[in-house]
Amino acid sequence: MSVVLEARNLNKSFGSVVAANDINVTVNRAERLGLIGTNGAGKTTFVNIVTGYIKPDSGAITLEGRDITACEPRVITKEGVCRSFQVPQLFLTLTTAQNLAVAIGIAQGQAFSPYATIDDAMAEAIDALLERFRLGDYRDQTVSELPGGVRKLIDIAVAVTRKPKVLLLDEPTSGVAAEQKFALMDIIMSALDSDVTVLFVEHDMDIVSRYAQRVLAFYDGRIIADDLPQAVLENQTVKMHITGTAG
């Protein structure tokens, strides 16, 4: 399996708080990784460093061997690392279709042509995405009027318009009713291309067990376990610090 993303010796502190403590991770192409840990363990900091929102104090991130540590978020996005957010980051006054039009326009390089309209090809691309994410019913509704779960899906749909190599999902099921979490994850996972590498931050261990092929457990800015889901969830240190199920 080829390595797509690699983090080497990442360190990041915010004053006296150590958010990343010598993080070393190698991610293979098409892998589905679950990132678990309590609040403040360093999961989102890791996602933010990978996507360029935060620069590490030391260490490096490489994407297919290229160093992207110092790159701006938009450059990293163009390189193929896209993300969704814990709180969906959308264009609230636009409709679902318009949100996707902006995203597709940027991805296809049409966004800076002053008169490029939503032509038939773009409309088809929008409709295909809406269908993949089962958002057809919300096509022409303004995003500010939509429920949280739908916004989560749009946030991810918007992120995949660039056909990313690596997709980072920050708590895709947070704020969604417990009985809808699996349905939401089913839609997300079935909508993604099989060759996309997915890293998702998650607190629900049932979700992690079902959808992750490998799990990284964060605690106090460190990775305390990196293995198959079952092995990580049965790890005593993980049980003690994260899942709280130690005997």
Binding site: L90, F91, V102, A107, F112, T117
Partner: protein, 320 residues
């Protein structure tokens, strides 16, 4: 009718109606419309900036640059053709805007607004002291020609200028309408809504803001040049903060959703100011203030928002 042709056809029809209307209206009214169109063009530029979530209090700078560009092109360059003068004014403002835009694109909210205001007032101060440009008195211009046509009297001149102004308004309105409907137009609204997401989609927010600001400068210059040849005079007051304030007034009254609303608001402002100063010479600013207050209270999204709401309602009533 295909929606692709609907907007250009509507624009052509509007132009015909405006040209015919000019023949029917009294000369004073026609002149008032020309000045309203000039300010409307500058305010349309401001709307471009507002669509990306910022407000400029310095649009007067480009209005002034356009006016001086056209005026000096006439006085120093010996050019009298209205189209060339307006183009010159627009280009001077465009270049100025392109130089300033990258510097301002990193600022937001009150900082952006204040910086634009500061630059505008800086230009006002400099022009006031520049004796070779007429100082605070400014410079008088001569009547222009129109692609070889030299009006024989003032009535002809006003009407010719009015037709010319109508063409400018329709052409730039059409360009802006098509742009508003484009993906790039949506991108401006996207920046207004969520800069973080725009960056995380791989686009540059600074570039969007710089481009909008430069385009706004160009429209401000076109408006300033049109105003300069209409009143045959340029002076530093064009860059004074009250001039920029008028554009802000028009932009707030119109909202950012409709191009037609911008010109409707500009016409409303000119007529209110004209009638108020005639009937309440000592209190016309108050009537303007009341009008502004009412529009903010009852039309939070401006006249454009009202038009949009009606359009949506009509769409909703249509049988599927």
């Amino acid at each position: 009718m295909s929606s692709r042709y609907a907007i250009p056809l509507l624009a052509a029809l509007t132009l015909v109606i405006l040209v015919v209307l000019g023949k029917l209206l009294p000369a004073w009214c026609v002149f008032l419309l020309v000045t309203a169109f000039a300010k409307g063009l500058a305010a349309l530029g401001l709307v471009l900036i507002i669509r990306s979530g910022l407000l400029s209090f310095g649009q007067g700078l480009f209005y002034c640059a356009g006016g001086y560009g056209a005026g000096l092109f006439m006085l120093w360059g010996g050019v009298h053709d209205a189209a060339l003068l307006v183009l010159a004014g627009g280009l001077v403002a465009l270049v100025l805007g392109a130089v300033i835009a990258p510097l301002l694109a990193g600022y937001r909210s009150i900082f952006f607004a204040t910086l634009t205001l500061a630059l505008s007032m800086l230009a006002h101060g400099a022009l006031t002291k520049a004796d070779f440009l007429g100082g605070s008195d400014g410079l008088n211009l001569r009547p222009p020609s129109f692609i070889g046509f030299q009006p024989a009297n003032s009535t002809e001149s006003v009407y010719a200028l009015y037709v010319f102004a109508c063409i400018l308004v329709v052409v730039f309105s059409l360009a802006c309408r098509v742009h508003f409907n484009s993906v790039r137009g949506l991108l401006s609204l996207a920046v207004r809504d969520n800069e973080i997401r725009v960056e995380y989609l791989g686009s540059s927010v600074r570039r969007v803001i710089s481009e909008n600001f430069t385009a706004a400068a160009f429209l401000g210059g076109i408006g300033g040049a049109l105003n300069a040849i209409a009143v045959a005079h340029i002076d530093p007051e064009l860059a004074f903060w009250t001039t920029s304030g008028e554009f802000v007034f028009v932009a707030i009254l119109s909202g950012y959703l409709s191009v037609a609303a911008v010109f409707a608001s500009s016409i409303a402002l000119e007529f209110i100011r004209s009638f108020s100063s005639q009937y309440f010479p000592n209190a016309w600013q108050m009537s303007l203030g009341i009008f502004m207050l009412a529009s903010i209270l009852f039309l939070p999204n401006g006249i454009g928002g009202l038009l949009q709401r009606r359009k949506k309602r009509m769409k909703g009533n249509k049988p599927a």
